[in-house]
Each structure stands twice: as C-alpha cells, then as structure tokens.
C-alpha cells in the first residue's frame, strides 16, 4: 500500500508536467555606459527577495509597504555584494518599487565613476542559494551610440566581500524611482538585537550580577561555615576570576543557544524560564553560604547552559533570515557577549572602587544577594504559576 501511495504522488506529478509553463525568476539590469560614468538599474522581484531574506515578516502572505520600508537595508545588504562590474565599484544612489506583469519589483539604482574601454565584465550571484534557475537579464546601452548588448547572467559562485567593505549608501538624486532614502546602513541588525536582548533581559543581568558581587572579595573560612569575605588588594586578583567565570558562562550559553537554534534539543519554555529564576536564587545563596561543592567557574558553566536555552527562546521572534542563518545567529550571539562585556566592565570597576567601604560586605554582598534571592524566588513563583507581580 505504501508503494502505491508514493507512486500516486509521482503519477500526479508526472502526468501534469506536460503542459504547464510560466515565466521563471528573472531580474532585470539596465546598464548605461557613459564616458566617465556607469549607471546601473537593477530590478529584483519581491517574491524572490522574500525567499532569501523574508520580507513578509508577519507571514500573512502580503508584502506591505511597511515591511519593505524596514527591509531596505537588508535588501541592499543582500543584493549589492552579489553583483560586480569588474573595474567599477558600485555605489547605491537610490531605490524604489515598481509593478511588472508578474508582481512588484524592488529597484536599486547604482552608479560608478569609472571608465570602461571594453565591454564590462559582469559577475553575478543573486539568489544562487535560493533558486539556481534564476537569471539576470542585462541590457547594456552605450552613450557613444554603439548598439545595445544583451547578456544573460547565470548565478555563479562569487567571493562575497566582508560586510564592512560594502559600498555605503548615499542620498538619492532621482525623485522619480526613489520613494525613500536608503536608511543609514543598519548592517549589524542582529548584533544589535543581541546587545538589546542582554541589556533588557533582566534575569540574565541579575544572574551575572550575583556572580560578580563577591568578585572583588576573597572568600575565607572553609566549607560548612558561613562565608567571610575579605577585599582583594589588587585589581588583577579580581579580574582573573571574573574572566574565568564570565568565559565559562559565555561558552556554556553559546553551546545551548546553538544546539537549540539548530533544534537538536528543544526544551519547553515552561521548564527553562523557572529554571533561570532558580539559578539566580542559588547563585545568590552561594554568596551567603557556600552551597556548591565545586568552584564557581563550574557553577557558571552549568547555569550558563540553562541560560542559553533562554536566549534561544527569543530567536523565533527575531526573524533571522533563512539564507546565512548561521551567520545571523553568530551575529546575535556576538551581540549578547558584547552587551555582557559592557555590564561586567562597569560592574566590576564600580565594585572594585567600593570594596573597602565599611558597609560593602553588609550592604552590597549580603544585601544584594538577599535582594537577588527575593527577586529570583518571586520570578520562580510567577513563572511556575503563570502569574505576574513584578513589572518585568
């Protein structure tokens, strides 16, 4: 029976090949080759761009102006490195939209101040990873009256320049086709998402603070006894353990973030969110009484694994592009680490300066840890019982 079912699919596919035909995916390039200037207009179908970088952000099947408007920087960042006119560095001078028989197209207007003695060599890789049957149809026109030349561009492998060497966007001179100024390049969109996420992810920040509070102190007194903290003499005595703890936390949450993003392991948010609250309570408790039989580096690592799943939870909301998803994910993670580094530098500096104050131990270490325990416990109850008391 199984075989027949599979076959039926094939029959449906096979017999219907006979008569269908439609226009394939084409982009249109118009090059005007002048004496000292090359002008290039590039029309790309929105439905093709959507497959590469997701324009339809709300998945409703309709691409709105708002979606295109916010996507312009991504459209440019995707398209521009995928076209090279050898010897002519291209600059974006404007963009617009137009309607053709088979849908709406994004229009990119590019320019280069270059002198071409011969026919320009075009290198093209648009949509190579999305639709290998895509072609660019290029029409070259010459100011000196030579007859126009038509070229069919097949996407080929192209060395993509690093994002920083992308041509910068300049203000537009053409009011007809351009409906909006190219946004000041938002190249590192996902990096910024990462930074924003850690700075506004109060549970992660609080956990980090719990680990850092005693970092400018040294623990005296053995296991089983209440901890006594002594201020360190030199900054280096604080910095080295901090680096160890933060690195362990970073490595751990990067691992689980990657694993969860690849969907090798999926844990329900109903488990992860209370678990993150619990890590805060436990880390803060450890500041008051040593409860962990292992070093704090190991604790930071274990708990970091849990926090990584928490970071992964927001990935679905972030609308990362399908093409180069891994790169976008990496960018997001680097953003997280940069945000985290900023928190660590500010906190440790502040704590180091305060460490000799008479009430440091009582107020900062003990008081801070008790406050963290209280907040973590409240979060835990909230997240387990699904109610909201705290503002965040």
């Amino acid at each position: 029976m199984m075989v027949i079912r599979v076959l039926f699919l094939a029959v449906a596919l096979l017999v219907s090949t006979a008569a269908q035909a439609h226009k394939a995916s084409d982009a249109y390039l118009q090059l005007e080759v002048g004496e000292h200037r090359l002008a290039l207009r590039w029309d790309i179908a929105l439905r093709d761009l959507d497959a590469a970088i997701t324009l339809d952000a709300d998945d409703d099947g309709r691409i709105t102006w708002g979606e295109v408007r916010t996507a312009w920087p991504r459209i440019e960042a995707y398209a521009l490195p995928r076209l090279q006119v050898v010897g002519c560095p291209l600059h974006l001078v404007g963009h617009g939209l137009e309607r053709r028989g088979d849908g709406a197209y994004a229009v990119l207007q590019l320019e280069s101040a270059c002198v071409l003695k011969t026919l320009p060599a075009l290198r093209y890789s648009l949509l190579r990873d999305v639709d290998p049957t895509h072609r660019g149809i290029a029409k070259l026109q010459f100011a000196d009256g030579r007859p126009p030349v038509l070229r069919l561009l097949e996407p080929m492998e192209l060395e993509l320049p690093s994002p920083s060497s992308l041509p910068a966007a300049a203000p537009l001179p053409d009011p007809q086709a351009a409906v909006a100024a190219p946004a000041a390049a938002s190249r590192f969109e996902f990096l910024r998402d990462g930074v924003r996420h850690i700075l506004t992810g109060y549970d992660h920040v609080l956990f980090l603070l719990c680990l850092l509070l005693p970092s400018v102190m040294r623990r005296t007194g053995g296991p089983g006894q209440a901890t006594h903290w002594e201020p360190v003499e030199h900054l280096s005595q604080a910095v080295l353990p901090v680096i160890g703890i933060v690195s362990a936390f970073t490595i751990a949450h990067s691992i689980t973030l990657g694993v969860a993003a690849a969907q090798w392991i999926a844990l329900p948010a109903a488990f992860i969110e209370p678990a993150i609250a619990a890590t805060i309570v436990l880390a803060a408790l450890d500041n008051l009484w040593p409860i962990f039989p292992v070093r704090r580096v190991a604790v930071a690592f274990c708990f970091g694994l849990i926090h990584g799943f928490g970071f992964a939870g927001v990935l679905a909301e972030l609308n990362l592009p399908s093409v180069r998803f891994a790169l976008a994910l990496l960018e997001f993670n680097v953003g997280l680490e940069l945000g985290q580094l900023a928190i660590v530098v500010v906190t440790v500096t502040l704590l180091f300066l305060l460490r000799h104050r008479a009430r440091y131990r009582a107020l900062v270490v003990r008081g801070g840890s008790l406050a963290a325990i209280a907040i973590g416990a409240l979060w835990w109850v909230e997240r387990t019982a699904n109610i909201a008391w705290l503002p965040v």
Binding site: S16, T17, A21, K23, R99, T133, A326
Partner: protein, 395 residues
C-alpha cells in the same frame, strides 16, 4: 452601428492600456505602511498559517543543509507549488533545497536523486532527468525503485523513446507495483496504435477493486487519449468525463479534455472546463484558443495577455525550452502564423515528442505549405513509432 463602434473604441483603449501596463514597469509610490505592495501566491501547498512554519523549516534547513528529511520536505512543497501555479521559480527553489548533494555525490540519498530527477523533468531537462534516474537505479540497494522506474518510463515516453520506456515499465512491475507497470505498458502500446490491446488492458486495470481516485483518473485519461487518437470521439469524451468525475482537481486531465473539446469545435464547453483553473500559461493559451473559436469578448484580452507573457518570457534566450509547445500552439492557432509556428514546433520536438507536440508540428507543416516540412514531420512520427489518426490525416 454607432454603439458597436464606440464599444470597439473603448475596448481598444482598455486593451492598449493593459498592454502598456504589462510591457512597462510602472513605479509604485506607496503612502501608508499598511499598503499591500505584493501578494504572494496563495496555493494549496501553502495553506494559511503555514508560512511561519515554512520559514522556520527554511531556517533549520540553512543550518543543516544535509538533513535529507528537512531538504526533501521543502523540495516537495516547492515542486507542488510550481505545478499548481505553473511557475518554474518554485521548481528552482526545490532544486536549491537539495543543493547540498552534488550530482556525483555517492552519498546522496536515493530520494534526493529521485526528487532532483522529478524537478528536472518539470523543467523539461529530460536528458538530465534520465541521467539522474539512471545514476540512482544503478545503485545496488535503492529505496523507491518502482517510483524511479516509473519516472524514467515517463521521461522516455515524452522523449518519444517508446522501447526504452517499455523496458522501464517492466521494471516498475518487477519492483512490485504491478498495476502501475501494466498501465505504463498499456500507454506505450496505445501510442504505437495497438488500440484494442491497450483498451482491454486499461479496462482490466480499471476493474481493480478499491482504486484510488487519482489512479482511476490517470487510467481514464490514458484511455481517453487513446480513443481520441483512434478517432473514437464519443468514447474519448465519456472517458474524459469519467476521469474528471473521479478526480476533479486533475489538472492534466482538465487541460487534455479542453484540447479535445477545442478540437471538436465545442469551445463553450472547453471554457467551462478551464474556468476553475489557475491562469498558468497553459490554461491561458487554451482560454485564448477557445475564446477565439467561440468569438467571446474576452478572447482578444486573453490573447493579448498570452502574447505579452510570451514576449516577457522570451527576454530570456533559453525560454523556448520550457515554453516551446505553448508558443508553437499560440502561433499556430491564435496568431495564425504557420511559418512561425513551424519554426517553434520544430524546435520543440527536438526534446518533447508527445502526440500533441507531433500534432502541432504536422499541422504547422501542412499549413505552411512546405512539402519538405511535411516529410520531416512524417519521418519523425515514423521514427518515434506514434500512430495517431489526427496526425496521419494531416500528412
């Protein structure tokens, strides 16, 4: 009198505006954020709410390009969309989804090769499809063997290589799919003009208990085409109707029945059969043909749209590989330009040799009045071994 003239004038103006719109890209100047710029085609393959799931699947796939399950899931959906819309860009996306495996990758899963061959066939790359299938079938242990053999049999049939198709059909049956193997052989027998034997085989298969509707429609369409080539119009009509009754969404049966009805000078019925279809090029062509025959007001607009689509498609130099048949039919039966139709039909039969392709070729040869072209067409029909009363009448 006057009102007719005004009507014509108005119609001409609308038509002119339409052509201008289609030819020229018109700038869009949106004013509000919620203004819809473009609507992605809605298909059964992408039911409402599934777009988010599809996007997440694409993201997973980008991370694990060699996860065959993910890749094949995406490829299957994209190919179904290409079929439904007649839009080859989605076939390209299906190819991209399985792009992690090279053609000569010995570790490529069998299903990946089968999918690639099926997409190549859709794109009319018949030689490439056959080569991919043969690579797959030369492996020692192959999953899906009957499926691969059946696909190969179909590719060979479309190429007009009936003997090769026969041997693939026999492997379908040997691999355990007896019904499909037998139907496959019956279809080839019918093409060779062994109508009575083929008819008996197909009727026998149709008597199989608990046939699935799709399979029943396939067998009935094969039977209808057989009767059509044999000149038994009533039997053909009845079989087409039965096929569409068994599976109303069988796009192939619908197009074939429309061609039959147009050939029978029953354009009103042809238009009714085509009405529920997506306006793919193949459907639009038949709408223009039937509309012209019936003299409907819509016919000129449909023809103009088809003309425009062909012009746009031909901006790509290799467009005729995918569009050759439709372009030849349009030139012959709508534009009434047999010389152009002959050139297009000649190019088309270089790769596609189904009865319809040879019919268009023969008709263009006859209408162009070129004796040498008629002899060429005759030679090709003999070489392929096709027996078709319609073709024979023309040569």
């Amino acid at each position: 009198m006057r009102s007719t003239a005004i009507h014509r004038l108005a119609f001409g103006a609308i038509l002119g505006a339409f052509i201008a719109m289609a030819c020229q890209a018109t700038p869009i100047t949106p004013l509000r954020d919620d203004e819809v710029i473009d609507v992605l085609p809605r298909t059964a393959a992408a039911a409402a709410g599934a777009r988010g799931d599809e996007r997440r699947a694409r993201q997973q796939h980008a991370l694990n390009p060699r996860d065959a399950g993910l890749a094949l899931g995406i490829a299957k959906r994209e190919l179904a969309r290409a079929h439904e819309l007649g839009d080859p860009r989605y076939a390209g996306r299906a190819l991209a989804a399985i792009g992690a495996w090279n053609d000569d990758d010995a570790n490529a899963p069998g299903e990946v090769l089968l999918m690639r061959a099926t997409v190549q066939q859709y794109l009319h790359e018949f030689d490439a499809a056959a080569a991919t299938l043969q690579r797959l079938l030369s492996r020692r242990d192959v999953q899906n063997q009957p499926q691969a053999w059946l696909t190969l049999a179909t590719v060979r049939r479309v190429q007009g290589r009936y003997a090769d198709s026969d041997s693939a059909c026999r492997r379908v049956a040997a691999a355990g799919a007896a019904l499909h193997g037998a139907a496959c052989l019956a279809e080839n027998a019918a093409l060779r003009g062994e109508s009575e034997r083929a008819r008996a085989m197909l009727n026998g298969l149709l008597a199989t208990p608990r046939l699935e509707n799709g399979t029943r429609a396939w067998l009935l369409t094969t039977l209808a085409e057989l009767e059509q080539r044999a000149g038994r119009d009533d039997a053909s009509d009845a079989a087409y109707r039965a096929a569409l009754q068994a599976e109303p969404r069988d796009d192939y049966a619908r197009l074939a029945y429309a061609d039959f009805l147009i050939d029978q000078k029953r354009p009103a019925q042809a238009l009714a059969v085509l009405k529920p279809q997506v306006r793919s090029d193949a459907v639009l062509l038949r709408l223009a043909m039937a509309g012209q025959q019936a003299g409907t007001a819509q016919a000129a607009a449909d023809a103009a749209e088809m003309r425009e689509r062909i012009a746009v498609a031909n901006e790509r130099p290799d467009a005729k590989r995918f569009h050759g048949r439709e372009q030849a039919m349009f030139a012959l039966w709508v534009e009434r330009d047999p010389a152009r139709a002959l050139a297009l039909a000649r190019g088309n039969v270089a790769q596609q040799r189904e009865p319809l392709d040879l019919l268009v070729y023969a008709q263009a040869a006859r209408q162009s009045g070129q004796g040498s072209a008629r002899r060429e067409a005759q030679r090709l029909a003999d070489e392929v071994g096709l027996r078709d009363a319609r073709v024979q009448a023309l040569l």
